[in-house]
């Protein structure tokens, strides 16, 4: 054994010991104030996200974990407006900003100012590229690929697929679509014969699918990005076509529809999306950083998957008209940090 290897071993041992003792060495955060800077509130996912943050924040304040956890949302979904909001947060003396950003790059200047002023910035969902900030990202490409992998297990003979994309020009849309196309390249029994933009909204997806359906051959599966599966099902139904295998995105109306179809004709599918509760994870990560924990700059959060077996549980816990959710705890955050370390 060489000296360097021994040193490495000793270092990792020390790290493990350090992690175990982390709790006791941590600084008290009861005087710290955390703010949420959010760029958009106009859909059910964002509403669930804000609600989770408010609940977990109120609880954390009541428990004396932090002094304040306030949520702020910009009205126009503009990067300039959000940059001004971040500057206000610096002036208001917050210790950390949890950030769902309007743009991955346009807020970098404001984020840098916050870092220079000694604030901790944790971005999630809509992440920022500024190196001083932390990022809690979802592997969207893996999510897209998983959809096709699932279709391959259910439809080994393959066939024609319809792809419903999100909002054109948004990073998340490109990533999920990239994953879907990787999946199709791997499972070459599938072919994407049509692609429309549903803007993550049921009514827009319904309209786009209704417009392209007449020109399409038989469709065996629909790959989606979330918030668009129910609209697609409606469009297929209106056109008098057989319902294909539609991958869903955890919205309550989609899950209800799935349960109805399952009870009526044994319909089976998969539903996956990011839980809006990722805001609570970002909150606890920022609390851990304030407490002095060593946290890597890039963290990954798993997506929330609902299968045939967990459908009834998911439906029971999802409020009507909302989206399936998980609230992350301090322990979950510590586990995500440890896994990334």
């Amino acid at each position: 054994m060489t000296i360097s290897k021994m040193l490495l071993g000793a270092a990792s041992l020390a790290m493990v010991a350090g992690l175990a003792q982390a709790e006791s060495h941590m600084a008290d955060t009861s005087g710290k104030r955390i703010a949420l800077s959010n760029n958009y509130a106009g859909n059910s996912w964002r509403q669930a996200m804000l609600q989770t943050f408010e609940e977990i924040g109120a609880q954390a304040v009541a428990d004396g974990k932090v002094a304040a956890a306030d949520a702020y949302t910009t009205s126009e979904n503009q990067a300039t407006e959000q940059a001004a909001q971040i500057q206000n947060m610096i002036l208001q003396g917050y210790d950390a900003i949890v950030l769902n950003a309007a743009s991955p790059t346009a807020l970098n200047g404001a984020v840098k100012e916050a870092c220079d002023a000694g604030l901790v910035v944790v971005s999630f969902d809509g992440i920022v590229t500024e190196p001083c900030a932390w990022r809690i990202a979802v592997d969207f490409a893996a999510m897209g690929k998983e959809e096709v992998d699932y279709l391959a297990t259910r439809l080994p003979d393959g066939g024609n697929l319809l792809e419903i994309r999100g909002l054109a020009g948004v990073f998340v849309d490109d990533e999920i679509s990239k994953g879907i196309h990787e999946g199709v390249a791997e499972h070459d029994q599938f072919e994407i014969v049509g692609s429309v933009h549903g803007d993550w909204a049921q009514d827009v997806a319904q309209k786009a699918v209704a417009g392209i359906l007449p020109s399409l051959p038989d469709i065996v599966g629909v790959v989606t990005q979330g918030g668009d599966g129910y609209g697609a099902a409606q469009a297929f139904n209106a056109a008098g076509r057989d319902t294909p295998l539609i991958v869903l995105g955890n919205r309550q109306d989609e899950l209800t529809w799935w349960a109805e179809q399952r009870d009526a004709n044994g319909y089976e599918t998969l539903s996956l999306s990011i839980a809006p509760g990722v805001a609570s994870l970002a909150f606890w990560v920022s609390q851990q950083i304030l407490a002095g924990a060593e946290v890597p700059k890039d963290l990954t959060v798993p997506f929330l998957k609902i299968t045939q077996d967990t459908l009834d549980d998911a439906l029971a816990t999802t409020p009507e008209g909302s989206v399936a959710n998980v609230t992350y705890t301090l322990e979950d955050a510590q586990k995500v940090i440890a896994d990334a370390g």
Binding site: A41, G42, Q47, V196, A208
Partner: protein, 311 residues
């Protein structure tokens, strides 16, 4: 050629061309299906488009930017009140129209009492409406009652019910504009506000009625759209802001006001759906699709306005 001088002709020609090109791809099979989908989805754009047309007819600077927020608020409150219970469809309609009436009055009050330009007044008001919609139901999607959903997605004599509603409204608007004294007053106000006032036309009454009409149309469209697509969503009205203005302009109404065009609005509404379907069917990527849609719209507007100038 008298026919070619009709500015509404171009939107119908464009819609027919987009239809033919898309239907060609389906080798005739999907033609009926496509036409049915175009009538269903075109109806919503036509209803808000008719409202926007009345406002734009009022003359330069008149436009209603609160259409999406009014749609969302009316649909959200109506569906919440109905709570998916059967037999509440008319209660929901009443609430939606009451919201429309309120929004129209509020918009006009801002314009008249505070002397705000309509663009600013309706934009500011729309932020309030959208916030009330968020606050009232936090984006939860409540299903419409089954009977109402069946009506909104159903058909009568082979045409979608929502298209019948849109058609009936178009006829009412056309009759009012072309055959009633109110229509004359509206056109006169749009052509020259000062002259109209001196001629004894109650211009403020005309303006008030117009801003209330557009809000009522938006509320109705929101109510129908939410019933059609299985619930109100906070972003449901978003695409109808530019859509409502586009169908007016493509339909051959003058953006400067004083010259409206009812048949053109329907043609343009069908065209806006068909052009996206056509480009989707031919596999155009999003960027190319937007560029082509923009180019085609500019071409139609040029065609329609050149003909009008010569006529």
């Amino acid at each position: 050629m008298k026919l070619f001088s009709k500015p509404w002709l171009w939107s119908w020609l464009a819609a027919a061309a987009a239809f033919a090109v898309t239907a060609a791809l389906t080798s005739g099979r999907g033609g009926g299906e496509l036409a049915y989908a175009a009538l269903s989805f075109g109806a919503f754009a036509a209803i808000v488009g008719l409202g926007q047309m009345l406002v734009i007819t009022l003359g330069p600077g008149n436009v209603d930017l609160s259409i999406p927020a009014t749609m969302t608020l009316a649909a959200t409150l109506a569906l919440k009140a109905m709570g998916s219970q059967p037999g509440t469809a008319f209660l929901g309609l009443g609430i939606a129209l009451a919201v429309g009436l309120g929004a129209g009055l509020a918009n006009y009050a801002l314009i008249y009492l505070l002397r705000l330009p309509p663009i600013i007044a309706t934009l500011a008001a729309s932020l309030v409406y959208q916030s009330v919609a968020i606050w009232s139901n936090r984006g939860l999607r409540i299903k419409p009652p089954t009977g109402l959903a069946d009506f909104a997605t159903g058909r009568f004599l082979g045409l979608p019910n929502v298209a019948w509603v849109g058609l009936a409204l178009a006829i009412v608007v056309w009759v009012i504009l072309e055959r009633s004294v109110w229509g004359r007053w509206l056109l006169a106000t749009g052509q020259n506000l000062r002259v109209a006032r001196l001629a004894g036309i109650p211009v403020e009454l005309v303006r008030a009625a117009t801003y209330i009409s557009v809000a009522l149309f938006s509320a109705l469209a929101g109510y129908l759209l939410a019933s059609f697509s299985g619930g109100a969503a906070l972003n449901m009205g978003q695409e109808y802001l530019l859509m409502s203005i586009a169908v007016v302009v493509i339909g051959g109404s003058s953006i400067a006001g004083g010259d409206s065009n009812v048949p053109g609005v329907w043609g343009a509404a069908l065209f806006m759906f068909l052009v996206v379907s056509m480009l989707n069917s031919y596999g155009a990527v999003a960027g190319l699709r937007n560029v082509l849609t923009g180019t085609i719209i500019i071409a139609i507007v040029i065609a329609a306005s050149t003909r009008r100038n010569r006529a």
